[in-house]
């Protein structure tokens, strides 16, 4: 007796209902796919279309003539400087957010969940005030005649007010305040997901608490940290209000140049080309981050 195995694709002669069942399967798949349509349409209309328009527009001059001058202009010193400043500020703010935010997230992750949830309100609190209000509040605190300098001078600690604002320092302080929750939230979530048993296992292997933190907890929290860092850095690249108000005119960021191109020169093409460059650079950074941390699900834990 010989037995042949049917190829999975070819059905034996008598295969009752095979066609009907296949059609049913195909119909179900189509129905499922159609569920994504509204979302896809929305993304197309509010994301793909405007970005395409942005690209298109960036190749036209102020008077509507097709040109590459919008891109050529970016080689001018002021744009190069702005570009460098943007990354410098974003890098500094991100670094400060990491240094300030990591311990906070760590503390919250160690606390009982209820208490942590309560304290989290204070982390999120800044979200509930407008950026403009927060920025002006920093002016009140930081300027020469502000609260901090007044205290320090009155206490005799300094004789001249410190230059805390209208410079890079002021911009970084103001932006860190705005950005900190964006670092803490994903970081906290990923730290919560780290099973405390790993720290016990490390201790059991002979690791001091410091070693266990450095060699086990820290690496395990990196995906969350990367998500936070990526988020903060990319959001910083597009910052406008805070650097404009706290930088004293000295700190020029890319987004401020975009705004100038529209509101001062009325040159949408030039503004679009700046936007395109920022978009591309942001994309490259996100891609690099993804590669660097090999996280399948950016923003989640492993």
């Amino acid at each position: 007796m010989t037995m042949t195995l049917d190829h999975p694709g070819t059905l034996p002669a008598a295969a009752p209902n095979a066609d009907a069942l296949q059609r049913q399967g195909a119909r179900e798949r189509r129905a499922l796919a159609s569920l994504t349509l509204p979302g896809a349409a929305l993304i197309f209309v509010v994301l793909i279309l405007p970005i395409g328009w942005l690209f298109w527009q960036s190749f036209f001059g102020a008077a509507g003539q097709p040109t590459l001058e919008n891109y050529a202009r970016m080689l001018k010193p002021v744009y190069v400087r702005t570009f460098v400043t943007t990354f410098e500020v974003s890098g500094l703010v991100t670094l400060a957010c990491v240094l300030l935010g990591y311990p906070v997230a760590y503390l919250l992750a160690q606390l009982p969940e209820r208490l942590a949830g309560l304290l989290m309100i204070f982390v999120i609190l800044p979200f509930w005030t407008s950026v403009l209000v927060r920025t002006y509040a920093w002016l009140v605190l930081l300027q020469r005649t502000g609260i901090i300098n007044t205290w320090l001078v009155d206490a005799g600690l300094i004789s001249e007010p410190l230059p805390l604002v209208h410079n890079m320092l002021g911009v970084v302080i103001g932006m860190v305040h705005v950005m900190l929750p964006f670092l803490i939230l994903p970081l906290y979530a990923s730290m919560r997901a780290i099973d405390p048993v790993y720290m016990r296992a490390a201790a059991n292997c002979g690791a001091t608490p410091a070693q266990a933190f450095r060699q086990v907890f820290l690496p395990l929290s990196l995906p969350g940290l990367a998500a936070g860092v990526g988020l903060v850095f990319v959001l910083c690249l597009g910052f406008y209000v805070t650097p404009a108000l706290l930088g004293g005119g000295r700190v020029s960021m890319w987004a401020m140049q975009i705004a100038d191109n529209i509101s001062v020169y009325g040159n949408w093409g030039a503004a679009s080309s700046l936007g395109v460059v920022l978009l591309i650079v942001t994309g490259i950074i996100l891609y690099a981050f993804k590669r660097l941390f090999r996280t399948e699900n950016f923003g989640g834990t492993r």
């Binding site: 008077a63 002021v78 400087r81 209208h166 005119g249 509101s263 949408w268």
Partner: protein
Amino acid sequence: MRKSMKQGIIAAIAAVGLSTTAMAADTLTLAGLGGKVQEDLTKTLFKPAAEKVGVELRGESHDGLAAVRVQVQSGAPGWDVAHLGAEDCAIGAAEGLFEPIDYSVVNADGIPERARGKDWVGTNTYSVVLAWRTDKYGDNPPKDWKDFWNVEKFPGRRAMSVYPQEMMEISLLGDGVPRDQVYPLDTKRSLAAIAKIKPNISVWWSSGAQSAQLLKDGEVDMEAIWGSRIAGVIADGAPVKFTYQDGVIGFGCVAILKGTKHLAEAQKLVANIVSPEIQARIPTMMGYYGPANQKAFEVGKFPPEVLAQSNQSPENAAKQVIMQPTWWAEHMQDVQEDFKNLITQ
């Protein structure tokens, strides 16, 4: 029931259609930059002017020349007249966005030449002035921009605008250029002068509110600031004074959008807006601005304190430089970039 409803709808549509036709006949649409300023300008200038012409006035707001450009390019602008900053008027005129002003209808005798063009005309003025803290300088305050640039004689923290308009002008004045030789701007000399004062500029302000706050809080001792903002600071009781000496007069303007269906009415509206009679309302109703038409001071009778305060009273106007919008229209972007490059260095 169904039938009567249908008839009702048709009737409603017809009524709407009728009313739009009616609007087209005697309504003019004027688009401005919005906010408190447009409100005040409407009350002071636009509304009374429209009444004189005998048309209804509809107000709209835009966010700059780009919006006006879009309206004109559409072929059938929804606005008849736009109120803009003078540089935008000059740029728009160069682009051919406006109808020429009919100067046989619009009497521009009292309006300085720099404050009008072939296609546009100034409506209101403001001044950039030198202001200082009296608690810092007491009886020996800086008198003009030369003193602003003199850091040995007048030490102290200074503030200027982050935008080059008017700042370039005052830098040349500070560097010793006579008022009548400011234009065309010597940008090289101007930037050199700004580079010189840069170490003493604590803040480059980017909004009017910020500029007022800086002086009010004593964050700076001396500042180039819009005269319209100073009034509020002084009214708040801050120890601050200012001078019109060497001030730079800038202005707002109106232009008629190319393709408007109501060209004749629009010309008449513009004529009335800049007429001495209506311009004379500015010194009392909008004390922080000045009229564009000098003849306003011949028509109106003002008490001395109003005259002393107004930037366009003959005595004050004589001390100042009138900004040349056409120069800025040509050089805006390059100058802005060089200026920004310098101050962010």
